[in-house]
Symmetry: C2
Subunit: 156 residues, 2 copies
DNA sequence: ACGGAATGAATGATGCGTCATGTAGGTTGA
DNA sequence: TCAACCTACATGACGCATCATTCATTCCGT
């Protein structure tokens, strides 16, 4: 190979703009959630999944699959959320290795209280800035990139 | 107000796809950098800025402006990078409160060694999946969102 | 039936990010 | 000129993310 293939100008600009958007949007959303509800963005993700699940109960490995988190991250995070009373752990009769994570009443109250302001922030920061074509383009771009990652992960 | 305005279906799908792309791309890039060069993505950003600066020297507040980091994050991070020998701190004669951060020889070597594989990973994960129109759309979307944030930060 | 491999999950160490706060030095205006 | 204020930067505490490791249980081939 005769040298590194760098990004061309369009790619360079797109990448820097993306990085800035990504960092700022994440920071804003995190701060808004923390300030208004005392939840982190990570907490929010966990609570959403549990709230959507029947009985607010999920096996950790299912949660892991949905969130695409590292197993140990999830385990640590659930531990902290449990200490704060947002979730609880139960034993799993079907598989003695396993466990259940269940949403507590406080956890459900927290997500229900947090959701409106959070959604509103997402819309204000992101979707109010984009026309419908751009929204579809964003989905298309993100889907393509994610599909590319998955193709790499498990080669044909 | 009569209730929360949720996201419509297009927005919902775009948002979930974006979140997944964001998380996965960041994770992959971080792991690649760490594995191949022992640098974090944050390290990489700092080193790029310093390498582009004359004499590899910058005032911390300038670095902060470029990276859009919190001041204390930068301070902590520079401390860790200094311990690892990637950067050094010098006093600033013009302003006794201030300081300079300077790229060490090891720091310059690290960024030069890391860049090719990193850029290659960015291209492989992102730009190889997108056609030129999508690249331009990504830049446009990101720019719009960032501009929206800035407009909020300092209202007219 | 049993030994090895795979699975579900927890833990300790360590680096990262934020908040609140501290401190020294500069700037401004009455 | 000097008090009030602002700016540049550092620090301690604490929650978060990752890696490596560990452990119990289940699965599976022989």
């Amino acid at each position: 190979m005769t040298g590194t293939r760098w990004l061309d100008d369009d790619q360079q600009r797109a990448w820097r703009a993306y990085l800035r958007m990504q960092a700022e949007v994440a920071a804003r959303l995190g701060r808004q959630l923390q300030a208004d509800s005392g939840l982190s963005f990570a907490d929010y993700g966990v609570l959403v999944q549990l709230a959507e699940a029947p009985d607010g109960r999920l096996r950790p490995f299912a949660l892991q699959r949905d969130l695409q988190w590292e197993q140990s991250r999830l385990s640590h995070h659930l531990g902290r959320m449990q200490r704060r009373g947002l979730v609880d752990r139960e034993e799993c009769p079907q598989d003695a290795r396993g466990a259940f994570v269940v949403l507590t009443a406080a956890g459900r109250a927290a997500i229900e209280a947090a959701a409106p302001a959070h959604v509103d922030t997402v819309r204000r920061l992101v979707f109010d800035q984009l026309d419908p074509d751009e929204v579809r383009a964003l989905e298309r771009i993100a889907t393509r990139v994610v599909d590319g990652l998955n193709a790499e992960r498990r080669p044909a």
